[in-house]
Symmetry: D3
Subunit: 134 residues, 6 copies
C-alpha cells in the first residue's frame, strides 16, 4: 500500500455547545494544520499515488472558504452539531472524496482507495478521520 | 474511522539487561514523549471521539507514578523483563484500556474500539503498541 | 549566557481591523503555541536559570484568562489596537516581566536579564518579542 | 501489534520525466528524511520488536549508496520509471525486506510481519510504502 | 525587539567542488526549508512587524527561480564559489534586503532593522545568515 | 553573521539534589536532543562556517562518554553541583570550545567566534548555553 500526504492550514473561530466542552463552549478559535493522505494499492504508470500538484491545489480550494471563518456562521456546517476537530476532519474528508469522484485529482485518481484527514490543533492534540473511497 | 490523540511525557531511569542492548545495559535514562490515540468507528452525539479533557487527565494520571522514576525499582513493572520502549508502550496501553473499561473516560467511551500508544524516545527513534479494546 | 524555555498554548478568537489584514479582518481564530525563554548571564547556585516548575506555572497562569477567549471582548487588551501575534507576544512578555519583578519566579530570579516570548501560529508562521528585564 | 521506527536521511539529485511532474521534469534534488518502521504481533523474548542497533545500521547501509547520488545515473533504479518519492519508498522497502529475510536483523527478526517506509520530502509533503513481509 | 518569521521551501540540485565536501562533491540535491525572519525595534501603527502577506509573497518570489533548479547551471549564483547552505542563506538574505529597500514589503517596512534567513537541510543540520538592513 | 547547527542526542540517568528540583531529586533520566551551533562573521574560502563532517564527528565524540551514562557516577561532572540541563549545555560548550581551540574543527576554524549548545529535554522544555570563543 502507498500513500502521499500534503499539508496546509486554516485559522477559524467557533464555539462548541455542550457541557462536555467546558471552557470551549464560549467563542474561541484554532489553527488547524491539516494533513491529507491519499492511499492506493499500486503506483500509477508515473510511479505516483496522486498528482501532488492537483492534490495540493484541491486541499487549498477546500480549505479556502473555511480559512479566516467564524464556523458558527458558516452555512455548510451550521446545524450539524458542534464543529469539533473530529467533525471538521470528516467534513474535509467528504469534500475531498467528492473531488476525487468528480475527476478533480487527475485521470489516474480512480485507483485511489482511501483518504485520511488529520487536523493538528496544538503541539499536544490532534484528530483524524480515515476511510475508504466509495 | 476516527481518532483523537493527546500528548504528555515522562523522564525515567532504567537499565536494560540483555546482550542485545549493548551500552544500554548500564543505568541510563530517557525522556519519552507519549502520544495516546483513541479510535472509534463513528463520532458520539457530541461529534467527538472522546472527552479530550478526561483523556488528557487520564494519561497524566497513568504517567504520574512513572515520571521521575527509576524503573529498575518500580514495583508494577519489576520482574517482567526489560523495560524497553515497546514494553512501556504496552504497559501504558494496558493501564489506559483499564481506565476506559472502568468508566474513567466518560459515558460514551463504550464506543471506543482501539488504542495506540506511541513513545518517542529521541528525534530518531520511537515505538508504539496498538490494539483493540476488549 | 544561559536560557531556559518552556512551552504552553492558547486557542483564541479575534478579528484584526485594518486593511493590511485582508481576510483576517473578519472574526476568526488561532492556536498560539507559546514558547517563553528566560535568560541570565551566569547560572544560580542550583545550576539553573530559573525554577522550571515556577516558570511553567507562571506561564500557565498568564495564559489561563486568554485561553478559550474572544480577544475582541477581553478587557485587558481591548482598545489597544489589533491583537496581532506580535501584540500578544508583547502582552505576555509584559505579564511575565511583572511576575519576575514581583518575586513570583523564586528567590534567585533577580538574576534574570532578558525574556523572549514566541508565538507559533501555524507550521509556516511565528512571531516573537524579546527584551531586557528592567 | 507493536512497532519500532528509526530515522535517517539522504540528499539526492534526480529529474522526473513525464508531463505530470511540471517543473520537476528538470534536474533538481531533495532531502528525504526516511522513517523505517518494523512491525510484529508480539514482542520477542527481550521485550523488543527488533534490535534497534541492527535496524539503524541496516537502514544506514541501504541509504549509503543513495546518499549524495544523482539517481538519473544510479544503476539499481535506472530504467524503472520516474524515481518519485513513492518509488524510492518502495525501493527502500524492498531492500530492507531482503535484509530481514537474509538474517541481517538478528535471530528474532523472523517474527517481523510488516514494514513501512516513509520519505518526508519537505515540511508539507511526504509519501510512504507499507506492506507485509513475505 | 520584535520579529515575524515565515516559512517556504525549495528543492534543488548542485555539486560542491572542494575537498572539504567529501561525497558532496558529486551532483546531488537538497530540500531547503527556508525560514525568513524580519526584525524591528517597535511595532508599526497596525501592531505588526511586517505585512505577513507581502512577506510570504516576497519569499515565494525570491525562491521561485531557485525551486526545481540545478544550481550548477543557475546564472545568478554561478562562479561565486560553492553553493553551500550558508551561501544560499546569504543569497536569499541579499535578495530580500533588496526587496525591502525597493518598497516591496509595504509602506512601514522602513522600520525593519534586521533579517535572518535559516535553511533547514535535514532533521540534523541547518544554517543561517543574519544581519542588519543597511 | 553566519551559523551552522548540527544535531545529535544522549540518554542519561541522574538525580538532582536540592529542594528546588522537587520530584527530580530522585534518580530519573532524560533524552537530551543536542543542537550545537557554530558562528562566524564571514564565510571561509569554501563558503562554509565550519566543516560539517568534522563538526558532526566532534559532537559525537563529546557525547559518546555521556551517552547511556549515570551522571551521578560520571567523574568529569561529579562534585560540580547538580547536572541540570543548563549545566550539561555549559559542559558540552566547554568541551567543544576546547576542540575548536586545539584544531579539531579544521584549518579555518580559527574564524569561529561563538558557540551555542541547546539541550531539548522534552516537547515542552529546553535550555541553552551561548558564548564567545576566547
Amino acid at each position: 500500500m502507498f500513500a502521499v500526504e500534503v499539508r496546509d492550514h486554516i485559522m477559524i473561530a467557533h464555539s462548541l455547545p455542550g457541557e462536555v466542552f467546558g471552557p470551549a463552549q464560549g467563542l474561541h478559535g484554532a489553527t488547524f494544520v491539516v494533513d491529507l493522505a491519499f492511499f492506493r494499492e499500486e503506483l500509477d504508470p508515473d510511479n505516483i499515488v496522486v498528482d501532488i500538484g492537483l492534490a495540493t491545489d484541491a486541499l487549498k480550494a477546500i480549505l479556502k472558504p473555511l480559512n479566516y471563518a467564524n464556523l458558527d456562521e458558516y452555512a455548510p456546517v451550521k446545524g450539524k452539531g458542534p464543529t469539533t476537530t473530529e467533525f471538521l476532519a470528516r467534513y474535509i474528508f467528504q469534500e475531498m472524496a467528492a473531488k476525487v469522484k468528480s475527476g478533480g485529482l487527475g485521470s489516474h485518481a480512480g485507483g485511489l482507495t482511501k483518504l485520511r484527514v488529520t487536523l493538528n490543533e496544538s503541539h499536544v492534540a490532534r484528530a483524524w478521520c480515515e476511510g475508504p473511497l466509495a
